[in-house]
């Protein structure tokens, strides 16, 4: 089994303001998807969501506020899973609810140090 990092990206501007009911529905979709991976014993760490604000450090001691509003695909969260191959990891990612709101899932293999 290999480990994979799933990065969830979406355009913050495209995410509509949601009512509490819609938020709950979305939450349920995420839980059903993650629960389905956990039921296959392929979840390493459910991960977290990330705030939209950020800082970027550049050479020469330059620190900028993350210009995330201009990025079409800001990283909104991550999850760690186990899979035998890239294909399987991608297959597991297919049900991710972020895809239904125009976002993407980036699948990256974790290379142990």
């Amino acid at each position: 089994m290999k480990e994979f990092l799933l990065l969830f990206r979406s355009d913050p501007k495209l995410v509509p303001a949601r009512s509490p009911e819609e938020m709950e529905k979305m939450m349920k979709k995420w839980m059903d998807w993650i629960g389905g991976i956990a039921a296959q014993n392929k979840l390493t760490d459910r991960g977290n969501r990330l705030g939209q604000e950020g800082k970027v450090l550049k050479p020469g001691n330059v620190i900028t506020d993350g210009p995330y509003m201009e990025i079409k695909e800001a990283i909104g969260g991550y999850t760690l899973i186990k899979a035998a191959s890239f294909e399987e990891a991608a297959e597991l990612s297919k049900g991710c609810p972020i895809l239904s709101v125009g976002g993407t899932v980036e699948v990256r293999e974790i290379i142990a140090m």
Binding site: K28, M31, D32, I34, G35, G36, A38, A39, Q40, N41, L43, R46
Partner: protein, 410 residues
């Protein structure tokens, strides 16, 4: 109850009490002496009661005999006397008699302390459970052997090694201090959880024994909630979970001793008092923000005390299983989650999810698929049920599966 029935019963309820009190008095390094003295008392009961009939108060009789044997041992064993005498000085009156306090309060304290000694992290988990069954629950070697699917010899050796470990680690028979209580309690709760499951899920045919196992686990969990230091949200959640499950004990078995599946159970046989107790302890458990796996399992068990099906019920159960799986994976949780999914998303979605579970060698996996395919594809339903039949180990399971195959073929 005749003597030959009463003695095993008393062994299960009283052996541990006497042993705990003696062990606390003598120290864990003399655990074998404590057990021997107690066993001797029972041996004498078997001989005397068989010949002369039963005493009026068998428990009091056992306590008196155990006390006398302990005093005799103390008086006659020079080594023991030498070693223990100094430690016990404060409790030895002039006549040289040691005081053995078998009052309910001292029994309770001793048992609670023994629970922590037996479930000490330095003792391997397997040994803990064996010792707990023997010392905390008073189970016979036969019963422990059948619980572990091992022979008596193996279990005896394992217990001897475990006692040796207790002795070498010189674990005090005492409650851990407040800093350590949380992690120590975790081990205790795991052991009690396993004990309960042993009774609730085991394949053994002896229903009285299985019920006793559950009641024992509940008694020990209750003991935890009665002490301020150990009355934690997790302990309450575990006890709540046990109460909800145990409420169905009488409905799970028909008059012929056959298992009755949940859907076919007569809910008027469910024990309302235990359901109320479960609710009470769940409420106690929910007074902080801690959510342990016991909380989630107790909530699931609560939903199963509601016989009426509703989408809300199954949606809640599905979400609880999702949460449970995030805390800890187990094949049973994965299978149950998929069953809940069939109730909220329909059989086809659940079949697709089930076929990804990779639990091909588990008979319950095939029972689930057989159930899901019923009405969708009878051929596949029968195929899976037959596979479940060949994988199932107990006669009771096989019988239940056969019934399902018959229903499919009809």
């Amino acid at each position: 109850m005749a003597a030959h029935e009463l003695i095993p019963h008393l062994f299960r309820t009283e052996y541990q009490k006497i042993t705990a009190v003696l062990c606390r008095l003598f120290g864990i390094e003399h655990i074998e002496i404590a057990e021997d003295i107690t066993s001797d008392a029972f041996l004498q009961a078997a001989e005397t009661w068989g010949l002369h009939g039963m005493p009026e108060n068998p428990t009091a009789w056992l306590y008196t005999v155990a006390k006398n044997k302990a005093r005799n041992y103390f008086r006659h064993d020079a080594v023991f006397k030498e070693k223990i005498a100094r430690q016990l000085k404060h409790s030895i009156p002039e006549a040289g008699e040691i005081e053995i306090d078998l009052s309910p309060a001292n029994i309770r304290d001793s048992q609670l302390q023994m629970m922590f000694a037996v479930c000490h992290p330095s003792i391997p988990a397997e040994a803990q459970i064996g010792l707990a069954l023997r010392i905390l629950c008073g189970f016979g070697l036969d019963e422990i052997a059948s619980a572990f699917l091992a022979n008596k010899e193996t279990i005896n050796k394992r217990l001897t090694r475990a006692r040796e470990k207790l002795r070498l680690a010189n674990i005090p028979v005492a409650l851990p201090d407040e800093d350590a209580i949380h992690s120590r309690l975790e081990t205790v709760l795991t052991t009690l959880y396993l004990l309960f499951n042993e009774g609730y899920c085991s394949q053994g045919q002896d229903m009285i024994l299985r019920k006793d196992l559950c009641l024992e686990a509940m008694r020990l969990a209750l003991l935890l909630t009665e002490n301020q230091l150990t009355n934690t949200p997790e302990a309450n959640a575990l006890l709540s979970l046990m109460c909800f499950h145990a409420s169905r004990f009488d409905a799970r078995i028909d008059t012929n001793g056959n298992a009755v599946l949940y859907d076919d159970q007569d809910s008027s046989l469910w024990n309302k008092e235990l359901i109320d107790k479960g609710k009470f302890f769940l409420k106690q458990a929910s007074e902080s923000n801690i959510i342990s796996k016991y909380h989630i399992e107790a909530c699931i068990a609560y939903w199963h005390t509601q016989k009426n099906d509703s989408i809300h019920k199954w949606e809640s159960i599905l979400q609880l299983y999702n949460q449970l799986l995030l805390i800890e994976y187990s094949p049973i949780a994965a299978l149950n989650r998929t069953y809940a999914l069939s109730k909220t998303e329909g059989k086809e979605a659940a079949i697709a999810a089930a076929e990804k579970l990779d639990l091909d060698s588990h008979h319950l996996y095939h029972t689930l698929l057989g159930n899901l395919y019923t009405g969708v594809d009878q051929g596949k339903a029968i195929h899976h049920l037959q596979k479940a039949f060949s994988l199932a180990k107990s006669a009771a399971d096989k019988k239940t599966i056969l019934k399902q195959i018959d229903a499919c073929e009809a």
